[in-house]
Symmetry: C3
Subunit: 262 residues, 3 copies
């Protein structure tokens, strides 16, 4: 264990929910280092949290515990799970928020967190982040055996990949995320491209827009001229230099993006 | 002292005010652990900060120092006080921001922070968080005797509870907070309820709305159907599953909530 | 080195960019203490970041490393520089974001960060904060010699001061920042004032508004009555007690502010 615990939640900052979780963790493990990945996931948006944690987790030292909470079903029958991938541990409701991690990993175990010895004494039905996940993460960071928190299970919500569809020399992808600069992230990775291709002959279609060729960096684009490039998460992005592509092109998550090579 | 210092302020993040306070604290006590409860209290909203700190402070390890700053009177005659409750210490302007803590605690002392030896050399008249509260909190976390910061006082702004009004078999309460999920928090606690009552026979009235019975968790509610439940802070809440009750019901802090049992 | 690394960026919190940088830093230097000054600089607003870091850096312990990233030219030919001022080290793109620091300091060296031994293995062209600046800051905090990161250079973007213009007994200044309380900060410092002057005879003009005299603190102002005072950063501010001067007066950065003494 690295002693690092990260947070990816939709709690926002205003209400003090995240601060309270940190207080509980430090009460159990005073040496824990707690890092916010983000607490500004759009409320109840499981897909967005799944994408952000997938892009972020591997930049932390091995032995980091990643907490991911977007949890509309809090208090009901949905389970809380620990996903043990050897080099990283994830703690989250079993609602799909770890789906992209699960589709990427091959060797892992999933446990159902049920042992009340590691919970706060009074568990509310509306804030399991505070009453269950915070103390469990702290005990995990102290090296408590994962088996102690509950039994291994196999009927958790399964992984899901976001590979694009390929047809002849076309790739049909989708918008999977828009970052807060307004860059539009698609599910098309560089290694999906044909073995031999020339970047300048790629044609990208999104909504009514056609972009020819792949740029290298944002400032390759002129003002108000959308460009396509492979971004820091490895995915094809549509961007407008010093602008906001998401708003200018009125794009939404799920919109189609077509690539052709000619 | 736990070495933990928390922050509950209306400073926001944009201007760097909070970062600067942390720099000063770490210059005096390099081992301090500084945790944000929230810096997103609505500007100048003393009641909101009073509610958030009341709900949060006890989840931190004993010996934690809680800084609370919402301070429209900064630089004027209002005092800065240290509230010593033995297991926790609070540092705040004497303007009511600690009123709910004071109403809850029985054994405590209040001190007027006046000893300039513990302030920055140049005290501005607009940013006492930086010039007074940050360095004082750091010296407190190092174990400096509280008496050294100034004299004990008794004419501080007193505690205030938010107990609802009871009349026959009715409880007349108020909305005291809306969290950022839009859940409406009232001042009615579970232990205010009659000794014998059945949850399904409770009738809750807020504005034109009537809710029958108490739910267990948010997902008990259907879409667009408001429910009532006891939330994580112990108070009765009105919520809409996957929705925003505050906005949908157009509720404001101070609005009445009536409970009857029949 | 104090082991402290600060962040002043326009990354926001939503996407996890800042969290990922912290993960990389802690992987290289597990003892680093990372403090956010702000990650809410307005997107691509170099001037705003330059002002915030100028006002904040000196409140941190000596040996602090300050990261400043507002970087519309990421991936292109713009350089990344280390500015070594002996007591503080700054790490930023060479695009003017350090201009006010450079105008204030006399003894310093600037280095071009080019040594890939200190970068992540795969450097993207869109996120140098993660791939270059985070690991370099971590190695700096471990005490790695600054010369190792690249050669000293002299053709960096130069300092810029924001002194007002003086003419007879008038001072013609400008709005340089509006904080998130709506206080309007000008470039007129207290030490720009004539040696002998009486605060009550100062006349301040901004847009159609005339303010007579200098107040001591915000609550000197009545509701809806703008006042002028010297704020916590030493600059003349226009403020409205319990209000928002920026919005009420519809002021923008760059607007003129005239002082006369009579």
């Amino acid at each position: 264990m690295s002693g690092i615990i990260t947070l990816t939640t939709d709690f926002g900052e205003k209400d003090g929910f995240v601060g309270v979780m940190k207080g509980i963790i430090l009460g159990i493990n005073p040496k824990a280092k707690i890092i916010d990945i983000t607490n500004e996931i759009e409320r109840q948006n499981i897909d967005q949290a799944a994408f952000v944690i997938k892009n972020s987790f591997s930049f932390f030292p091995e032995g980091t515990i990643h907490i991911v909470i977007v949890d509309p079903g809090v208090g009901s029958l949905r389970r809380i799970i620990v996903l043990d991938c050897i080099n990283y541990v994830f703690l989250a409701p079993d609602n799909g928020v770890l789906k992209y991690i699960l589709s990427e990993k091959k060797n892992f175990q999933v446990y159902d967190v049920v042992n009340k010895d590691y919970f706060l004494k009074n568990v509310s039905s509306t804030f399991h982040g505070r009453d269950i996940i915070a103390p469990v993460s702290a005990y995990l960071s102290l090296g408590t055996d994962i088996e102690k928190f509950g039994p291994e299970i196999s009927d958790y919500i399964k992984g899901e990949s976001f590979e694009p569809f390929k047809k002849g020399n076309k790739i049909i992808g989708k918008v999977i995320y828009c970052d807060s600069f307004g860059n539009i992230i698609t599910n098309i990775k560089k290694d999906e491209m044909p073995v031999k291709y020339q970047e300048k002959y790629i044609s990208i279609n999104i909504k009514d827009l056609n972009i020819r060729g792949i740029s290298r960096f944002y400032s390759d684009g002129g003002k108000n001229r959308p460009i396509a490039l492979f971004g820091s998460s490895g995915f094809l992005e549509i961007a407008i230099y010093l602008g906001n592509a998401e708003k200018s092109l009125d794009v939404k998550i799920g919109d189609y993006v077509n690539l052709s090579f000619n």
